[in-house]
Symmetry: C2
Subunit: 514 residues, 2 copies
C-alpha cells in the first residue's frame, strides 16, 4: 500500500487545489474556528450537507444528511420518552389568537413575534396575478403555534374528569414558528422542529417530579448520545419560560466558550389549568385544578452537536448519531484489483452489519481516494477503513478514526470486534474532550473586573449574584452575559454579589450564550 499511501498524502497535500477543481460543494474552504468561529459554523452546516437557508426568510431546509442525524436523535429520545411512560399525540398547528390572552405571562413571552394567519383564500387579481381574497378574512386570526400549551390545555379540559385520568403523559413531535429577527441555521430559525411534552398531574409534587425526571432524560441524552456534557440547573425568574413557576435546563458549552441551552423542562403549576379551567375530582371527591409540566428539545441540538465537537476539517459525529458509522474506501488502480478487494470487503461489511454497525462501501471509480477521505472527514464519519492490494496480501486494513485522526493497521480477522470497540472509544473520547474543554473554560470570578475579563476569554464564569432581576439585567446590559442557570445541588457559600456587592449565598453560572 505504500505507493498508494504516498499518492493519498500527495492528494491530501493538494486538497485545496483539488477541491476547487472537482467538488462544487467544496469550492470554498471551510473557515477555521480560530479565524471566525461563527463563519466556520455556518460554512460547515452548509458544506457538510446538514441544512441550508430557504427562499423563506428565517426558514431552513434540513437536507437529507442533516435529517438522518435528526431522525437518530428522535428515535433515541422517543424511546426514552416511551420508556418513562409517555405516549405521542398530535395537536393543531393553529391556535386561536384569544387563547394567548388567557395565560397572562404566557402571552408576553410568546404571542408577540409570530406568524399570523388572517385569510383563507387567494384569488386571481385583475391582471391575472394572485392576490389574497379580501372577502376570505378570518373572524379570529390564527397563530401558527410558537409552542402548544394553550391549545393542549384547552383540549385537556375535555380529557380530564377525575384523578383516574391522571397523570396524562403526552408528547408531540411537531414544527413550530417563532418570528425571529436574526436567524442562524439550527440555532435560531423562524420554523424549527421539536418535541414538546405536556403532562397533567394530580399534585404539585408529582408534577415537580415529572419536571425533574424529564430534565434527567435530557441530560442523559445529551451526555450519552450527543456526547455533550451538560450542567443541570434552574433558570432565574427573569429567564423562566413564560407561564412557568420554575424552569429547569441543561446548559452546554460550545468550542468558543459560549453557552447553549440544550433543553428545558418547566413546572407550570396550575397556571394553564386555571387559564383553561381544567379541574379534576380528587380521591377525596373535591374539584381541584390540575398541575402541569412541559418540556422540549429542538433541532437546535443539531447546532449544539456541530459546535461542540467538530473541527476545521469538518464534522465530528458521535458514533451513536452518525448515519454512517464506518466508511470503507478501496485503493485500486484497475477493475481486477477492485474485484479482489471487494471480495474481502463484502465479508467485512457482513460482519460489521451483524454487529448493528452501519457501513458504507464507496467503490466509485469517479472519485480518487484522497477526495473520498476529505469528503468523509467533512461528513464526520467516525471510522474510515482503507484497503488496497498490499493490504490484501498482509490480511490487514488501515483504520482511521475521525475524532483524533489517528491511523492504525489492523488484522482483518477480528476487525469487526475491534471496530465495535473503537466506536465505543470514540463516543467516550468525544465526550471526554468536550468535558475537558468545559472544565478548563470554567472560571471563578470574585470581582466585576475579573468577571468581565474572564467573559472575554470565553467560558462559564461562576460568580456571586445578589438574587435580584435588577442586577441580573444590569450585568446583561453591560457584559452581554446572562445567568445560564443555578446548578442543582449548588454549593452554598457566603459571598458578595460581583455587581452590587450585596450578600449572596451561592455562585451562579454566567456566560455569553447562543
Amino acid at each position: 500500500m505504500e505507493v498508494n499511501l504516498i499518492a493519498i498524502e500527495l492528494l491530501l497535500l493538494f486538497r485545496t487545489v483539488y477541491k476547487h477543481r472537482t467538488n462544487p460543494t467544496m469550492s470554498k474552504e471551510l473557515s477555521t474556528r480560530a479565524d471566525n468561529y461563527s463563519q466556520w459554523y455556518q460554512d460547515l452546516v452548509v458544506k457538510a450537507d446538514l441544512a441550508e437557508n430557504s427562499a423563506v426568510r428565517g426558514c431552513m431546509v434540513i437536507k437529507p444528511y442533516g435529517y438522518a442525524i435528526w431522525e437518530k436523535m428522535q428515535a433515541t429520545l422517543d424511546k426514552m420518552f416511551k420508556d418513562t411512560g409517555h405516549v405521542n399525540a398530535y395537536f393543531p398547528l393553529f391556535i386561536p389568537k384569544s387563547f394567548f390572552s388567557k395565560e397572562a405571562s404566557h402571552v408576553e413571552g410568546f404571542a408577540k413575534e409570530c406568524a399570523v394567519v388572517t385569510h383563507y383564500r387567494l384569488k386571481n387579481g385583475e391582471n391575472g396575478e394572485i392576490i389574497v381574497d379580501p372577502e376570505a378574512k378570518l373572524e379570529e386570526e390564527l397563530i401558527v403555534r410558537p409552542t402548544s400549551e394553550t391549545i393542549i390545555w384547552n383540549t385537556y379540559r375535555g380529557w380530564i374528569e377525575s384523578y383516574r385520568d391522571l397523570p396524562l403523559l403526552i408528547n408531540q413531535w411537531a414544527n413550530v414558528v417563532r418570528w425571529e429577527m436574526r436567524t442562524r441555521l439550527f440555532l435560531r430559525t423562524a420554523e424549527f422542529l421539536w418535541q414538546e411534552g405536556h403532562t397533567a398531574h394530580a399534585t404539585a409534587e408529582e408534577a415537580v417530579e415529572e419536571t425533574r425526571r424529564m430534565l434527567d432524560v435530557y441530560a442523559e441524552f445529551a451526555e450519552k448520545t450527543l456526547a455533550i456534557p451538560v450542567v443541570k440547573g434552574t433558570k432565574t425568574a427573569n429567564e423562566r419560560f413564560a407561564g412557568a413557576l420554575d424552569t429547569y435546563c441543561i446548559e452546554a458549552m460550545m468550542q468558543d466558550g459560549k453557552a447553549l441551552q440544550a433543553g428545558t423542562s418547566h413546572f407550570l403549576g396550575q397556571n394553564f389549568a386555571k387559564a383553561f379551567d381544567v379541574k379534576f375530582m380528587s380521591k377525596e371527591g373535591k374539584q381541584e385544578f390540575v398541575w402541569a409540566t412541559s418540556w422540549g428539545v429542538s433541532t437546535r441540538l443539531m447546532g449544539a452537536l456541530v459546535m461542540a465537537h467538530s473541527d476545521d476539517q469538518g464534522l465530528v459525529l458521535p458514533p451513536k448519531l452518525a448515519p454512517i458509522q464506518v466508511v470503507i474506501v478501496p485503493i485500486f488502480k484497475n477493475e481486477e484489483q477492485l474485484s479482489g478487494i471487494t471480495v474481502v470487503v463484502d465479508k467485512i461489511i457482513a460482519e460489521l452489519k451483524s454487529k448493528g454497525i452501519t457501513v458504507k462501501y464507496d467503490n466509485r471509480d469517479t472519485h480518487k481516494p484522497g477526495w473520498k477521505f476529505a469528503e468523509y472527514e467533512l461528513k464526520g464519519i467516525p471510522v474510515r477503513i482503507a484497503i488496497g492490494p498490499r493490504d490484501l496480501e498482509n490480511g490487514t486494513v488501515e483504520v482511521a478514526r475521525r475524532d483524533t485522526k489517528e491511523k492504525s493497521v489492523m488484522q482483518i480477522t477480528d476487525l469487526a470486534v475491534k471496530v465495535e470497540h473503537l466506536l465505543d472509544q470514540i463516543q467516550t473520547n468525544i465526550y471526554s474532550k468536550a468535558l475537558d474543554y468545559r472544565e478548563t473554560h470554567t472560571y471563578k470570578a470574585d470581582s466585576y473586573e475579573e468577571f468581565k475579563k474572564l467573559l472575554d476569554q470565553g467560558g462559564f464564569v461562576l460568580a456571586h449574584w445578589d438574587g435580584t432581576t435588577e442586577t441580573e439585567l444590569k450585568i446583561k446590559e453591560e457584559t452581554k452575559a446572562t445567568i445560564r442557570c443555578i446548578p442543582l445541588n449548588n454549593k452554598q457559600e457566603e459571598g458578595k454579589c460581583i455587581h452590587s456587592g450585596k450578600p449572596s449565598t451561592q455562585r451562579v453560572i454566567f456566560a455569553r450564550a447562543y
Copy 2:
C-alpha cells in the same frame, strides 16, 4: 370459570346500562353502520379515542391511541421508502405566494383554499386586548403549504447540476393545510399529516418507472399492512393532480360501497423543472430540464382503516397496525385468585413478547371483566385472552378473536405459537373479508338507468365512457359519481358510453367517493 362466564354474559347483556353508569367515553352507544354509516364512523373515531375535533375549525386532535396507529403506518412506510432508496428531508412550512404562480395549472388546483400568513407580530391593543400589529405586515404573503412541489423544486435548482446528482429520491413527513369547507375527522381536515415524496430524474422513462414503483409500494402497504384491497389505476385528465402529466392512484372500497382514494403517485413531466428552472448537464454534455415525480399518502388512511374493517361494536384493527395485539383479562374475585393468575400470565406475557407480540395485561380491579371486554372490542384489539381460576386448574385460557368474535379454549403450554399463528390468520381474514365485500359490490352497467340504480346500491360500477371530460362532468353532476380510475392493464373491449352512446374501448370504474 362457568360462574364468571355467566357473570360476564350478564354484564354484556346489560352493557348499555352499564356503560351509561360507569364510562363517560361510552355514555352514548355507537350508531350502527346500517342505521347511519356516516354517524357510525364519526362516533367510532371519537369513542375509540382515535381523534376529535379541535377548537380550530377543521383541525383535528389526533389522540394517543390514534397516533400510535399512525406511528405504525409511518414506520412501515418509512422502511419501504428507504428500502427503495429514498431518504428523508425537511422543507419549510411556508411558501411565498409568488411560487404558486410559477406552475400555471398547479396554482389553479392548490393556491385557492389555503391559510395565508400576512403578519408577523401581535401587540397589545388600547383596551389591553391582543391585536395584529398593522405595522408588521409581510411584503409578500406566505402560504401554509398545501403540498410542497413549488418550494422543493425551487430548492432542487441549487442541488442539481449534472446527471451525477440524479436521481434525487427524497421524502418528507410533514403537516399540510388545505382550507376545506366541509371537514370530517381523518377523511378531510384542514390540517393533516402526510408524507410527500419528490424525486428528480434524468429521463422521462426513469420518472415514470419511479411513479409506478411508488404506486406499487402504496398498493403493497394497503393490502399487506392495512389489509385493504385496492385497485391500481390512472386518473382521468379531469381528476389529475394539478401540474401532473399523469396521476396514478390506489382506490379502495369502504363498507358503504363508497370509494376512497388511498394514495396517489404523480408523473410531473418537466413542468416543475421548467417553472423553477431546474436543469442538469446530461452525459452528452447538454443542458436539459429535469423530470419529476411526487407521491403521497396521509392520515386519511386512518379513516380508510376504520371504514374498511370496523363493525358496530367498534374498531377491527389488522394485527400489523394494532398498538396492542393481545390483551389479557384476568377473571378473579379476590387478591389471592389474582396473584395465582398473575404468576401464569407473567410467563405467557414473556413468551408472547419474545415473539415480538405486543401485549397488555389489564389487572385493574376498578373495572369488571365485562367492561374490559367491551372496551377492548371498541378499541379493536385483535386477540383477547381471558383467564380465571378454573382455567388455571385446566391449564387453559379462553381466546377470543376480534374479527370473527369466535372464542376457543387453548392450552397454555403452546399458547404463544398459537397466538402468533392466530394473528396471521386475523390479518389474512380481515383482508379476505374486505376483498370479498369489494367483489360482491363491483358491478357492470350497460345502460345509464342500470348505472344509476347500481350506484344507489353502493359499490364500484364498471361502465363504458367516451373518454371526454365533458361526459365525465355531466355524469358527476347527475349522479355524484366520479371516475375513480382507469385500472392498470385494463381489459380492452368494444362498447358504447353509458351517457353519450359514443364508442368506447374499455370500462372504467365509477363510484361515489369520499
